[in-house]
């Protein structure tokens, strides 16, 4: 028994070292004075200063943030509807197709998704004149299609892990479906919606391949700018940018984790109190 726990601990240590050393190296080298990213030349924060002067990166970051926020909101709405239908509506006509269409984007190679969406946009523009050109709108639509799949999976698994006794009780008492949704279902799935929103936000903020296909002139997102710089080799200001992104994401994920744990605790306590009051 002793032997196996040593084995498990060393597996975890090596595994997490593999996962985290690259990220840590990005952070450490962002404070490197030397332009040769991996040769240590003393501590410096100059690359952060350079980053703030780089208009191209700042504009791209602003565009990416706007797209990510709109995308996440849209994806959460659509994904909630799809998740609700898949988890609560039983067997309905076309359920298999809906379920297939929501899981396929998760694994579909991005070159295929990107190419096919671009072809759709080109054909649609030729036929109806909308969307005119490619840019903000087409990127947002593409990201929503991609990320709504994630939200659907999260919402669906949350709903299937909870029984629908509360909803049924409300229905027996004569509440309208919309009321049941807003007063009972929505508070229960709120943590799933928060994580779905955050996940959609970060996926959108990070997507390069699909975006490259559906974006147009003058709408370069942050990953596109990073990619065009990184293709030419390492550059220290990208390390600084990476550090900022990693820190923001880590703080966001931890805060969301704490928020969700508290929500869950409160819900369990409410359920217990309700059960005790019976």
């Amino acid at each position: 028994m002793k032997q196996s726990s040593t084995f498990r601990i060393s597996v975890l240590v090596f595994g997490f070292a593999f996962l985290y050393i690259p990220i840590l190296s990005l952070i450490v080298y962002s404070f490197n004075k030397s332009r040769l990213v991996t040769v240590w030349g003393g501590f410096s924060t100059q690359w952060y200063g350079r980053l703030l002067e780089n208009r191209q990166i700042l504009d791209a970051a602003w565009l990416s943030l706007k797209i990510a926020a709109i995308n996440a909101t849209g994806a959460v709405i659509l994904g909630t509807l799809a998740g609700l239908a898949l988890a609560r509506f039983g067997k309905f006509r076309g359920r298999t197709l809906l379920s297939g269409m929501t899981t396929a984007p998760l694994v579909m190679p991005e070159v295929i998704t990107g190419l096919s969406l671009l072809m759709l946009f080109v054909v649609m523009e030729g036929a109806f004149g909308w969307p005119a050109g490619r840019g903000f709108t087409t990127i947002t639509i593409a990201h929503m299609t991609l990320t709504l799949a994630y939200v659907t999976v999260i919402v669906q698994s949350r709903l299937s892990s909870l029984d629908d006794s509360l909803e049924e009780a409300a229905m027996d008492l004569g509440a309208r479906p919309a009321k049941i949704f807003f007063l009972i279902t929505l508070p229960i799935i709120a943590p799933a919606l928060v994580s779905g929103w955050l996940l959609s936000f970060t996926i959108s903020l990070d997507d390069l391949v699909v975006t490259s296909f559906v974006s147009g002139p003058g709408s370069s997102t942050l990953p596109m700018v990073i990619f065009s710089k990184v293709r030419l080799g390492v550059s220290p200001d990208i390390n600084a940018l990476a550090t900022i992104i990693v820190l923001l994401v880590t703080i966001g994920v931890i805060l969301a984790g704490i928020f969700m744990a508290r929500q869950e605790k409160r819900r369990l306590r409410d359920m217990q109190m309700a059960a005790a009051a019976k």
Binding site: T103, L183, T202, L208, N239, I245
Partner: protein, 335 residues
């Protein structure tokens, strides 16, 4: 904050929502619309399912049909850069131009063949490597104490939240000639000359295994975590050695998790573009990269569409396998 103190606030919130909903229900347009919709057989339920349905049909399924159509047309110079499949000639004559050229050239041109085979090889080997690293990790996380388990699981998921592009970029700094590994090895005196690692196939494997490892660990974890441990105890009581218990009980029971994790790694890895582009040799033949180059450099849309269709056909079997494994897992959860 105690539950008692919180209760009135939450109650007020619910009352607010109720008020708004009741107000909306009383509005004539609401009633009128609802009556109309019900007469057409559209209930609230239908609408809930129909909205995402319509969205996915339009933006996920229809695009594939368009890609299929364009794959059968010929490239031309113009906007859009392909010839329409159906043309109306004078006098109402319909002309259909079906070109199989793009598919012929994919059979004839060895570049495509090699790229397909190489992508399958790279994705396959990476999947096996992910499994070899991911299985012990998932096992160790699933068997850890419950307080640790959540933290460890969070640590598996966290890298997945940080930018994929930047994590791949980090490996450039680690693998290049004056990068982290070579600097370290030269400093220890183990080597005198840097080992060339960046822009090799090795770098592609490292990149794919690193990026997709969480996709392997998570389904394996969720499978191993809900495994019935009494089976293992029974086996131990009956005198089975740990290795035998693992091979005859744990491994077979975790098969759906293995299949799901492997397909979650294999399917996107086959079409991977960013990793071979940034870490691999400039002439690396990966089908995702070929598609990108045909589209962006050669600007041959029909040929790119044909490559996409072929890639999709290649992935049909893995996708079906994934669906089945996930269905098996879901059944297991409800048992």
């Amino acid at each position: 904050m105690s539950a008692r103190a919180e209760a009135p606030r939450r109650h007020r919130h619910s009352a607010g929502v109720q008020l708004i909903l009741d107000f909306l229900h009383r509005l004539p347009p609401y009633r009128w619309t609802q009556a109309r919709l019900v007469r057409w057989g559209i209930t609230g339920r239908t609408a809930v399912a129909a909205i995402p349905y319509f969205w996915l049909l339009l933006f996920f399924l229809v695009p594939f049909i368009i890609v299929l159509k364009i794959a059968f047309s010929d490239a031309r110079i113009g906007i859009p850069p392909y010839q329409p499949l159906v043309q109306w000639m004078e006098g109402g004559v319909m002309q259909i131009n079906v070109h199989l050229k793009n598919f012929y050239s994919m059979v004839e041109d060895s570049l495509y063949w090699k790229a397909y085979l190489n992508s399958i090889k790279v994705a396959g080997i990476s999947t096996v490597l992910c499994l070899l690293i991911g299985y012990p990790m998932a096992y160790a996380v699933a068997r850890a104490q419950s307080t640790w388990r959540h933290i460890l699981l969070m640590m598996v998921i966290l890298p997945f939240w940080t930018s994929f592009l930047l994590r791949v970029y980090a490996w450039i700094g680690i693998l290049k000639n004056n990068g982290l590994i070579n600097n370290f090895l030269m400093w220890t005196g183990l080597i005198d000359e840097p080992i060339v690692m960046l822009q090799t196939d090795f770098a592609i494997y490292v990149g794919i295994v690193y990026s997709y490892l969480p996709f392997m660990i998570l389904p394996l974890y969720s499978n191993l975590e809900k495994m019935d441990l009494t089976l293992l105890e029974a086996a131990a009581d009956l005198g089975a050695r740990p290795f035998k218990t693992f091979m005859t009980i744990t491994l077979p029971l975790s098969l759906p998790g293995i299949v799901a994790g492997s397909m979650l790694v294999f399917i996107p890895a086959v079409g991977e573009f960013v990793i071979p582009e940034l870490l691999g040799p400039s002439d690396s033949l990966m089908i995702g990269k070929v598609l990108w180059q045909v589209f962006f450099t050669k600007r041959d849309w029909p040929a790119a569409c044909a490559v996409a269709i072929a890639l999709l056909l290649l992935l049909v079997i893995p996708i079906v396998l994934l669906q089945r494994a996930q269905a098996a897992e879901a059944r297991g959860a409800h048992r």
